[in-house]
Amino acid sequence: MTEKDEFKLRELLKKSPTLTPPETFYKGVLEKIERKSGRMEERAPWYWGYPAKGLATACVLMVIVLVTREAKKNEPELFQKAQSETMQNESRPAPASLMMKKAELAEGSKALSHAGARKDKERFEDLANNKEVQNRVNRNIVKYVDMPSPFEEVDEKAKQDLGLDRKGVASEGAKVRASSVETDESLTSAQSSGKGASADAQLLERRQSLISGRLQARDMNGVASQGSFLDEQKSPALHQKKALQFPSGTLQLKDQLKEEPQAAVALAGSGSVSNAEKADSPLWKGSTSGITTFRTVVVRTSEDWQTLWREHAGPSVPPSPCPPVDFNQYTIIGIFAGTKPTAGYSVDIVDTQPLSDKIVVLYRETTPPQGMITAQVLTQPYHLRLIPKTNLPITFQKVP
């Protein structure tokens, strides 16, 4: 087809005439419209749409529920009626043929049961008369009666073990407690009775002897721990020394001090030497401090203490008050590990070793093991501790 033809085609398409609809077309449209509107008018009173249908359904359901409930309320009466009817039926005499059949059946079953019972009885008598069977039964009964329960055995054993252990522990604890009380009392009485420099000297001597005794005991424990288990078992003295090192009373106090360091200071400040010994325990320990670089501190005066505390408690809001410490009796030693990248780091004062010319503070720094999941927060581990007042130089030594 050429361009001419295409043009012709377009012209032809454009020339196609406009159609005039017949009159029937308009009539048809109007009829359809009227029919539709008429249908709408007709059904208007009855046609409510889906909401109305839903409402009607709900009403019907409600009626059904109400009717069912009413029926249930009247159920006992219905039941009674039915029951009375059945009773009447039962009271009525049964037909003669049925009665006959019933009687026959009863007789048959009786005869059968009699026969069965007789057979069972005979068999039982035979068994009872059989001596072999009797012996076997008796033997079994004796065996089962005499045999103790395996659970009972275990229980008894456990009870014995526990009882013994508890006794042992209790007696050891009691001894230790008594000895510590004795020491406390003697020291307190010495303090109260002694006046002036002589009493103080006496107290110091006693204290030093106590500290040295404790250190010796610790050394011995170290040796014992290096030794074999058998050696430990063989040396009850070492056990006793271990117990002395961690008497129950001291442990309790340590727990209390951890929770309430200020109360510990108050206790320590009461002047009792035994308390002072007890106060030679962790006092201030934690992982958040205002001191962000590694530092070892020895505080001998309250001014220094207040300055240190201000620096240490810097970030806390509101600022925590400086705990009162009697520097006439105590010296504070401490380690600040500095800022660490995560949680899990800690620093501990392990021991204080008084030598002739100085005191050596042994401390240990702990780092979280590799691969351990730790809180991603900056921490500043620290450990402060009270020791009896000393003017000797104090050096710090790190232990692995």
Partner: protein
């Protein structure tokens, strides 16, 4: 009934245009009459809501094209789901034998005045509805690409490509028709 009277006046004024459009879109007068009637009935449904912001003719035009699209969609769906024999009867029912509209131009139609026009309308009637509608709207109704795109809800590019394809198709069909008449 003032409302209906107004509507009747409007219908009579715009009747020929919509009637012609419907006949051109469907390809035969009978189906066109149905489509035009459906258009006016739907227009009456919304006559009260019509605010007169747009031209009534344009509004009716849009309704007619939408009705046409719905009809084509419905026919397609029906053709896809219902594969039944045209001669099949359901038992003893008095239903007449089902018949599909013939692709050929109906006998006695008043649309064509000349032989050429008759051939053209026969070729148009043989075309697919999608191809025919673009051709009718562009060539016969003088609608622009933008208007056609808006009416048919397709991009302008699609209208252009469809139009080109429809012309080719019409050419082919016309050649066939001419061969047949000769």
């Amino acid at each position: 009934m003032n409302n209906l009277e107004n509507f009747e006046d409007m219908m009579r004024a715009n009747g020929p245009r919509i009637y012609t459009l419907a006949a051109r879109l469907t390809g035969n007068v009978t189906d066109g009459q149905d489509l035009a009637q459906e258009t006016f009935v739907n227009a009456y449904k919304h006559w009260e809501k019509f605010r007169g912001e747009a031209d009534v003719a344009t509004w009716l035009y849009r309704i007619c094209v939408n009705c046409w699209k719905n009809r084509v969609r419905y026919e397609k769906r029906r053709a896809f789901w219902k594969h039944f024999s045209l001669d099949a009867r359901d038992g003893d029912s008095d239903e007449p034998v089902r018949e599909l509209p013939s692709g050929e131009a109906p006998i006695g139609q008043t649309l064509e005045k000349t032989q050429e026009l008759a051939t053209l309308h026969a070729a148009l009637a043989r075309m697919k509805p999608e191809d025919r509608e673009v051709l009718v709207l562009y060539e016969m109704e003088d609608r622009s690409y933008e208007e056609i795109a808006q009416l048919l809800e397709v991009p302008i590019g699609t209208v252009r490509s469809r139009l080109a394809r429809s012309r080719d198709k019409l050419r082919e069909l016309l050649e066939n028709e001419l061969k047949r008449t000769l």
